[in-house]
Structures are given as structure tokens and as C-alpha cells.
Amino acid sequence: MATTAQPTAPSTPKMVTLTIEGRQVTVPEGTSILEAGKRAGILIPHYCYHPGLPVAGVCRMCLVEVEKAPKLAPSCATAAADGQVVHVHSEKARAAREGVLEMLLINHPLDCPICDQAGECELQDYTYQEGPKELHLKDPKRFHPAEDFGGDILYVTNRCILCTRCVRFMDDVAHDTVLNVEERGDRAVIGVFEGKEVTNPWAGNIVDLCPVGALLSKDFLNKARAWEIDRAPSICPGCSQGCNIMLETRDNAVVRLQPRPNDEVNKYFMCDHGRLDYRWIDRTDRVQFPLVRDGQSLVATDWDPAIAAASKAIAGKRIFVAASPNLSNESLFLLSELMRAGNGTGAFTVPTGPEAPLPGVEDLSLRADRAANGRGAETLGFRRSANPLDGMNDGDALIIADCELDGIAPEQLARTGSVVVIGTTFPQIARMASAVLPTANFAEDEGTFTNLRGRVQRFTQARPAPGVARPMWWVLSDLLTATGRTDATFFLASDVFAALGKSHPAFAGMTYDSLGLRGAIMAGAEGAR
């Protein structure tokens, strides 16, 4: 007879207290000294260790002196124990790490001036911090040519320090055995198994994991130096997973997306689909100025007349909103307020593609839903449909909210009462609009997305919007005010979010401060994972 397994209450782990560099720290039993050091605010230098990978203990960089232990201990592979006294910067430990650094440097080409990793290279960092003042090497360095690993990956063999993070990621996280360590001794290099290529949908992570400039992204190659880059915490809009990312720009052009750690969503990783699909952010055919109808043509104007024209176009009509599932909760909320006032409805269409899970991490996948905020749109009362005009009635005022409406001919819209376009681009259909209101895209705005598990997460602004384009929530705030609402004047995205929290139970109690950069689960969606 089958019995129902009772979930056992998580037992409190035994805690141990140790001293690292004179600081006491208490950690759960089984924590490594290296991780305990992080909690105490002490970064023990390391290369092969990565919290998202199995421990290898091979670089020997994290050697520390543990009192009463006969030998220096690799802190990544040594468990913290009660009463341990650990010295990270004792003469003995420093000498050992200096030795490791010298060994790593003897065959390293030291070509930092032409290396993509320079400025964000752990070999540089630790060498500056505690490396040898001079190298004793008098012999020529060994040479290996660079290799194309396939996909987006380039392997600059000479820079490799054989930490094996890439091999362990492919084996133990991506479960795709394509990389290996070839040969032995100092002839050893990272190799690709015969007949294979590093084209796994998650392979790009090995570039991030590489602590030096050995594994490079062909896409990012020579695009920017690390110190030229501005970084904004953001959320990947590529699918409904909501991977936390760092959106990186150089002179306001997007040059790279990198994963930003979030234990609850994406650990340390992001997929190549999300990573490499960023060029649209910089598209140059953006609407930069508000346009209003003047007879047969649309003419550029200022914001006030444009808002007035839009308000006039929707006045007295039932409203239908064709929304993009990539709009922020803030924008969708104000759209829903417009909709509600006119007794209207709204719909959105989510583009889809094949799923690609990352097997080594629970509930992390490139989702079939290729949009960031379908869950948010649903929560705020929009209908998910294959037809973006699903539910539109004859005579409705149609608000097109950053939708291209691909496949819908202008004639099909003959039955609308009026058309207002609010968005970043100028779709075909905008030709028949009463007003076109230009908005910022997600890189130029701040706001929140709700991922497929109901986690509400913030993204921040990376750069200014083009022309006089404004965040959509601002445009909608003005439009609502123009229609006579007195409680819809917002000056900050956070104010819109606070209003959303007040009016919608799923967001109750949430503020930007409470979300932080990790996000929080909507009320009612807990336990979804």
C-alpha cells in the first residue's frame, strides 16, 4: 500500500564557530572555510572554486593556514570546524599563494593590453594583490595556438590556467560532456571531444566562469574594455524565466549581457538565447518625437498636444489594449486602469520557441514563452491569446502598447473607433493612428517583471531614451490625468508600483525597497516552485 511521504520539517543544521583572520564567524556545519570567509567579509583568493560548480581543489590558490593542521589547507575543500583558527594572510599562506601565482604566470603570455578579460581578470587582480614582484623564469614560455570551440566560444590556450571550471560546468551543470582536459603535465590544455562543438544552449556561461581571458565570447570580442563599460542590474527579457542579468553598455550602446547571481531564479547562469539576443535594444528606427494626425499625415509635435490628441481619440469610447508581454508591471497596471475606465479589455500574444532546460539547476530553463512579463499581463487582467486583437469590439478605441501587430493588415482595423500608438517603434498600423507616443524600452526605463513562477523582479535604467521618448508609465500617467483622473499623477516608477500594491492584492505590501534586487513572490503564487 502506498503511503504518503510526510515532508519532514527542515532540521536546523548544527552550527560551528571559527575564527578567520581574527574575526569570529558562525556557519552551518559542512560549510567550507572559503565560504565561511566570505561570510566574515574575507575573500580568500581562489580560481578553480565556484559556488555553482562541484569542488575540484586543484588550483591550490586558496591555501590557508589552519592552526594545529600539519599542512596548509585548500580552503575550498576543507570544512569549517568548531574552534578552528584560520590565517589567510600569514607569511606561510601568502608565500604558498605567491608560489602558485608565479607558477600560473610563468607560461601565461601577460598580453593584458590586448586581452578582453583585462580589468575583470582574477589573475590580474590577485597578482596585483599579492603576486610575486618578479618572475624567476629565464626560459622561453610555452606556446599553443588559439582554438575555435564552435558556437560563440573562442579558446585562447596560452592564457588558460587549467582551473577546469568550464569542464565541470559542461559535465555537471549542462550535462553535456563536450570539454575535457587533454594531455598531461604542462602540455595539458582544455580540449573538445572529437566531433563535438561547444554549441549547448547554455555554453556561453563558460566564458563568464573562466577566471582569466582563456575562454572568450566571439560576440563580445574586442568590443569594449572592462573599464569602459557601464553596468545596470536588469532582468533578461528573452523568456519568462526572468534570469537576473547585468546589462552592460559602452557609450550607451549595449555591448554585453551577463548573468547576475540570484539563487532563487538562475543561480549564476543565463542561456545563450538571452545572452546574445540584445541587438534589438539598439535598433535605430525608434520613434523619437510624439506624432499627431494632421489630415492625411502625422506630424511631430510636443508632448502636451500629443497627450491631448490621444486623450481626445479615446474619449467616450470603449477601450481595447493590444499589449506587449514585455511591458513592465507599472505600464501594464496603468494600461489596465485606462481599460477599466472605458469598460474595455486587453490582450497580448506571447511568441514561443523550444524549451531548453539547464539540467544541473532545478527549475532553470529557456522557457517556451519568449517574453518577460506574460504572467504580469495575465495577473493585471489582459487576455493571453494567439490573436492580439482578441476581444476587440467594433468602434473600440484601440491602444497599441508597444506591439508590432505583425500579420495584421491596416484594413483589418477599419472597424476601430480610433487608434493610439504608445511604443518604441513605428509599426505599419501607426499610419492610421490619431497619435503616436514614443516610449523608452526596458533598457531606458525602470520597472518590474513577473516571471513564470510569480516572482516580481526589478530592472533598472541603463541609459537615456532617444529623442524625447518617455517611460510608458509616465506617458500613461499623463494620459490618465488628461482623461480626468485625479489620482494618476506619478513622478517615479516606484510611485506607480506603490499604487499597484495598493490596488492589486497580488502585489500587496510590495515596494521597490522590499523587492531589492532579488525580487519577491506575488501573493498567492507561493510554493509554485
Binding site: 599542512k71 596548509l72 604558498a96 607558477m103 600560473l104 610563468i106 626560459d139 610555452r142 598531461r184 604542462d186
Partner: protein, 437 residues
């Protein structure tokens, strides 16, 4: 016996008794000289009784580390519900060592019997014999012996009719020195790259296939049937010096010596007598210069040290070296120690598994410098650099291959510094001070 030389009366042939004997290779021949009586006896004892006998005999690991075998076996807890494994380390790759090869060539059933007793004593589900990839003849002999033993019902589901199950599987290595390191050996058996694992966990807790595992050397296991047959006291009585070193031990002798070969003596034997009497001293017209007594990983001894040595675990340490695997490499006065040490370093640089930074880079760097000195291109700082590298390579890595490479370098520079300096001085560059206008 000092196989292939005739046995000397000073030797104590126990394991080497049948070296060169074509009869004892087969099961019938082995049975005629009393083979498998020990296994029969052991299967009538409890595992704990066997462990106690081995403990009492004082038998220590013959692979190099010298850990007491009975104690190692007692770490295994038969009946803990997990499968146990015994691994026989027959990956004899230590340069200068060739004793296990002879055991497997002439008395493969001695090894099979030892493995069977060991398996039973530790409650092992399966015993793996990991044979060095380059050993073709020993591989064939051991495979044949295991086949004979299975056919005769000695191994299998009903071992010797006792209803107990003993299985032995031969695993052929692919030719990596590092696979003789116990955790690399386990990785190799599992089909992984032969890289040593971080300890802890130790093999007795999580070894082969993450289950409790014991690893013993061929010579260690081959000695077990003799101990079961003749008792712990007999074995313990074979001791000429320190009571912690008991029994007979095979020494493989090679290099510049009159009679190279395998010699079996009781531990504590005089190394001077061993070199000059048993092995016949240096080749005619030459004299000994140095000895590496336990395989190339141990420190080099000067002849003064060697001649004062009692051949046991403690005796070699007292005289600046280690017993190691018992691979005695002898150098005469015609040899350049720089060349020999450079050759040793090249071996380690070739065999480093490339995991740990200090070993991967250090072994190769050491080799480059030593070969440069050997070729007369050394510089005055080179010796200091070598010692610095050696210091960085000692006690800081997962396994001891790195330390093993540093050992002959440090002991070589310490004991034969003048040879290094002579080569370096030859090319010392004397800069002429430029006249200042």
C-alpha cells in the same frame, strides 16, 4: 632469490621462492606446493580473525607508504549494508621498481590467493586487480590464473565450496604513472581520467564507486597467504632491526651494479652487505657514488648514508631517505648526478596529471632548468630557483607526485652541489665593466 641470479644464503626467499619456476605458474603446480591451503583456512575463520592475524604479524604496505595492513583492513566494517571493494594496486610504475612484475609472472596464484583472502577479510563484493598498461606478460598470467581459479571453483559464488562469494576482476591500465596513486587508480577503474582525488574522504569511507574501499599493493597481498599458513608470530619473527618493520621484503636492484635483479631479505638487513655481497658491488673498476633506495621518488643517499642503513622503514628514514617501493637505483662514479636528476624530473613532468598548479608547472619548469644546467647553459641563480620551485611543490598539492619530483632535486643539490656548480661555472659570464667617459 636474487632473480635472475642464483639465490644467496643471506636471502630469505618467501615471496620469491618460486621465481623462475615454470611449474608454479599454473594452478596444478601452485597446488602441489601448498597453494590455496591458506585460502581454505582463511574461509574457515571469521573476517575479524583474519584482520587480527594480519595486524599481529606487523605486515605493512609494500607499495611505499608502509601503512600497517591489518589496521587498514580494520577500517572496513563488513555488514554495514554498503558494497565494499578491494583494489590490488598492480600499477607498478615507480622507476626502478620491478618486484610486483615478478610476483605476477611466476606466482600469479599467490596474488589471486592473497586477493581472495583480503576480499573475504574486508567483506569485499569485488576485488579489482589494476595492472599497469605496459605489463603484458603479467597481465596474461594473472588473467590465466583467475580463469583457472574460477574454473576450479576457488573463486566465484561458492568459493572453495564454502558458499562464500569471491570475485576478482582484472583491469588493465593505459600507461599512466599517476594511476598507481590510490585515488587516481579508483578514478581509472571507474572510467574517468586518472586524476588523484582530494582526501578526505579517504577510500575506507568513500572510495571506488563512492563505496568503502581498501587498496593494497601486490607484494602486500601476496604475503598474506604465508601469514595465514604459518602464523603471525612466524612473520613477526622475521625482523633484524626495528620491531615495527617485520617480514621479508623484495628489493629490485638496477643501475651500475654487478648483479641487478630482485632480492628478498628480512627487514633490517644491512644495506652495505646487500649492495656489496648480495648484489656483487659496483661494476669492475668503478665505485659507487649514490643510491636511490626506494624508487625514484625518495631522497638520494650518499654512499656514507647508504652503507650505514638498516633496510627497513625506520632505517632508511634515519639515513635521509625512505624505504619506498624498494626499487634500489645505484649510480657509480662515472655518472653525472645532474643528468640523472634531470632525467628523473623529466619523468615527473611527463607524468604529472596537470590538476594542481604547482605540479603541472613546477615539474616542467624544474626539468627545463635542470636540462639547461646539464647542457652547460646554467646560470648562477638557477640552483636557488630550483630550491624555490621545490619548496613551492612540497606539501601543497593533492597527491605527492609534486613532492616526489622535488625530492631528488633538493637532496641532489644538497648532497652533490659541486657537480651542479661545476657545470654552471663552466659558462659563467663575466661582464666587463664599461668605461665611464
Amino acid at each position: 632469490m636474487g632473480y635472475p641470479n642464483p639465490v644467496s644464503p643471506q636471502e630469505t626467499p618467501v615471496l620469491s621462492q618460486y621465481f623462475g619456476n615454470q611449474e608454479t605458474i599454473s594452478l596444478d603446480g601452485w597446488r602441489k606446493v601448498g597453494g590455496y591451503a591458506a585460502l581454505q583456512k582463511a574461509l574457515g575463520m571469521t573476517p575479524a580473525e583474519i584482520v587480527d592475524v594480519v595486524k599481529a604479524s606487523g605486515l605493512r604496505g609494500r607499495g611505499g607508504a608502509g601503512f600497517p595492513t591489518g589496521v587498514k583492513w580494520s577500517f572496513m566494517k563488513p555488514g554495514d549494508g554498503r558494497p565494499h571493494y578491494l583494489c590490488c594496486n598492480a600499477d607498478e610504475s615507480e622507476p626502478g621498481t620491478f618486484k610486483d612484475r615478478e610476483i605476477m609472472r611466476w606466482t600469479p596464484h599467490a596474488l589471486v590467493e592473497g586477493c581472495a583472502i583480503g576480499s573475504y577479510a574486508i567483506g569485499a563484493e569485488t576485488c579489482y586487480i589494476y595492472i599497469r598498461g605496459e605489463f603484458t606478460e603479467p597481465l596474461l598470467r594473472v588473467r590465466q590464473a583467475i580463469k583457472e581459479a574460477y574454473d576450479a571453483g576457488i573463486l566465484g559464488a561458492n568459493a572453495m565450496g564454502t558458499g562464500k562469494r569471491i570475485d576478482i576482476i582484472v583491469h588493465k591500465g593505459a600507461g599512466a604513472y599517476i594511476c598507481g596513486e590510490e585515488t587516481a587508480l579508483m578514478n581509472s577503474i571507474e572510467g574517468r581520467r586518472g586524476n588523484p582525488r582530494i582526501k578526505p574522504p579517504f577510500p575506507a569511507v568513500s572510495g571506488l564507486f563512492a563505496q568503502p574501499t581498501t587498496i593494497n599493493n601486490v607484494e602486500t597481498l601476496a604475503a598474506v597467504p604465508h601469514i595465514i599458513n604459518r602464523g603471525a608470530d612466524w612473520y613477526k619473527s622475521m625482523c633484524l632491526s626495528n620491531p615495527k618493520s617485520t617480514g621479508s621484503k623484495l628489493f629490485s636492484v638496477c643501475g651500475n651494479i654487478a648483479r641487478p635483479g630482485n632480492y628478498e631479505v628480512v627487514l633490517g638487513f644491512s644495506f652495505k652487505e646487500f649492495l656489496y655481497d648480495l648484489c656483487g658491488g659496483p661494476p669492475k673498476g668503478r665505485s659507487f657514488k649514490a643510491v636511490i633506495p626506494g624508487g625514484i621518488s625518495v631522497p638520494i643517499q650518499t654512499m656514507e648514508e647508504a652503507e650505514a642503513t638498516k633496510m627497513d622503514y625506520e632505517g632508511f628514514i634515519e639515513q635521509g631517505s625512505m624505504l619506498g617501493s624498494g626499487g634500489v637505483i645505484v649510480f657509480d662514479d662515472q655518472q653525472s648526478m645532474v643528468k640523472q636528476i634531470a632525467r628523473a624530473a623529466r619523468f615527473f613532468a611527463h607524468e604529472s596529471c596537470a590538476q594542481c598548479t604547482q605540479c603541472r608547472e613546477g615539474t616542467a619548469w624544474t626539468t627545463r632548468i635542470l636540462e639547461r644546467i646539464r647542457d652547460g647553459e646554467g646560470t648562477a641563480e638557477d640552483l636557488d630557483t630550483l630550491l624555490l620551485i621545490a619548496d613551492n611543490m612540497t606539501g601543497k598539492t593533492i597527491c605527492v607526485l609534486s613532492d616526489s619530483c622535488a625530492t631528488p632535486v633538493v637532496s641532489g643539490i644538497k648532497k652533490f652541489r659541486s657537480e651542479f656548480e661545476a657545470l654552471i661555472k663552466k659558462t659563467t659570464f663575466h661582464p666587463v665593466t664599461a668605461a665611464v667617459a
